[in-house]
Amino acid sequence: MSEARMSLPVARGFGETTRRDKWWVTPLVVFLGLSAFIVYSTWAAFQGKHYTHGPYLSPFYSPELWGESPHAWFGPRPSWWPGWLIFSPALLILWMPGGLRVTCYYYRGAYYKAFWADPPSCAVGEPRKSYWGENKWPLLIQNIHRYFLYIAIVFIFLLAHDAWKAMWFTDPVTRSTSFGIGLGTLVLTVNVALLGGFTFGCHAFRHLIGGKLDQLSTAKIRKPLYDCSSCLNRSHMAWAWISLFWVAFSDVYVRLCSMGIWKDWRII
């Protein structure tokens, strides 16, 4: 082929376009939304306190491998942890669900546009001439996505267990435990449902559960699972944003209840 000799129109400069609509609104909203989440989650992860309230555990801190709360799996901060290194239970685990989002196909397309202007929006000029996409390092690493998916599926079960535990309240006087539902129970239950919708509608999950098969109709179990995943996948962007907002809100809820600013409303 002699495509190198094709005489193409000169590429437009950064932001140059003949589009008349407000093309910059979507990337700006994505930029602000993701930036707000990154700033808040980083701040919350470094706090190391006010992440539990009664039976509630903030999803930013779950699973709490080591920590000061009764939710910790292996007790308090380990003795081998270097003294100079800041410790927070969230820092040990947040990279895992974070990795799923960073390598998620939806988020990739969104942040390439919003943060890297590659392109800023469809049919809008770019700031750089060079481009290698996900064809070379460092973005070749995005192909690790399915491994973060495997971890995220484990997290779904852990968070579901947290939601179950959030239904068992301990009486402060008698120390007896009884079933109950508080507003926080609902917040944490909705959280795991939304994260499930995001995770099981993931493109990699859809592929692994059945999409990779050319004769899917003969797979009696995988076919309906693929159909369910495809159904979730059609709204993957919506699941991504709603679950992102809700997981942050869940942390805010537990944090403010723990700080005594909000009072958890006991329904049952």
Partner: protein
């Protein structure tokens, strides 16, 4: 425009020129309710600019000939209703930017035909029955049927920044042909392996999932989610996933002809 008898004057700002350069020229023309952009362009061509080049054929959104950029967005001129555009300001119409310009609104899209020739064709497995016929699950055929709706308007190629802005025509085949490969690769009868080319010569890694191709497709093919990403995942299976490779050492892939 309240009735078919009512006409209003609008301004079309049409790119005039050739491969050596050109500029936008304004044309005032009357339009009526129900007209599409192509109607207005034809009126200008008939009454004011007889030498203006515009490619068209079916006027029904099925031939894919009248692709252009209308107010900066790639679209079919025959399927863009004037009432959907702001008529109180000039409507910009220009040729696609991912292909060489020939004259006015006409571009040379022959690169696409050369790319298509490079793609390995359909290679069915041995017939399932002695009469030389095959058996396929309806759901499996339905999945690839979406990709066969493509009318080859090349709007997805035009909006793809890898081609449009970075001119990587040598390294990347573009969304249209990733859809074509998906239709072949996911076909329940096909036995050909196109993954090596997909990774290397066809450059699927260049796609950074902007979904612009999906947004401009006049046939509403879910290009990114149903074609490109599943192909990317198949490439991951083959080249980037050590666990899958290990799995295949223990349980090798079936020979498609044995299915």
């Amino acid at each position: 425009m309240s009735s078919t008898d009512t006409q209003i004057m609008i301004t079309l700002r049409i790119w005039r020129g050739d491969a050596n350069g050109g500029k936008f020229e304004d044309y005032r023309t009357p339009v009526a309710e129900g007209m599409v952009v192509l109607d207005a362009v034809h009126r200008v061509q008939a009454e004011q600019a007889n030498d203006m080049a515009v490619r068209w054929n079916c006027k029904a959104g099925k031939c894919g000939s009248c692709s252009a950029e209308i107010n900066g967005k790639p679209g079919l001129m025959c399927m863009t209703q004037l009432t959907h555009l702001p008529l109180d300001e000039p409507i910009t119409i220009e040729p696609m930017r991912a292909f060489p310009r020939v004259k006015d609104l006409v571009t040379d899209v022959s690169w696409n035909y050369r790319v298509k020739k490079r793609i390995k064709p359909f290679k069915p497995r041995k017939p399932d029955a002695s009469d030389g016929t095959w058996r396929m699950g309806q759901a499996d055929v339905d999945r690839v049927q979406e990709f066969r709706k493509c009318i080859e308007c090349f709007l997805c190629q035009d909006v793809c920044h890898v081609l449009r802005d970075h001119h990587l025509h040598e390294e990347f085949i573009g969304p249209r042909f990733l859809v074509h490969i998906a239709a072949l690769e996911m076909h329940p009868l096909d036995t050909e392996d196109r993954l090596p080319e997909l990774k290397e010569a066809n450059g699927i890694g260049y796609c950074n999932i902007t979904k612009c191709c999906t947004k401009v497709c006049p046939e509403h093919i879910t290009i990114t989610d149903n074609a490109i990403i599943p192909l990317k995942e198949r490439v991951v299976d083959e080249y980037y996933d050590p666990l899958t490779r290990l799995w295949r050492l223990v349980w090798p892939k079936k020979n498609p002809n044995d299915v």
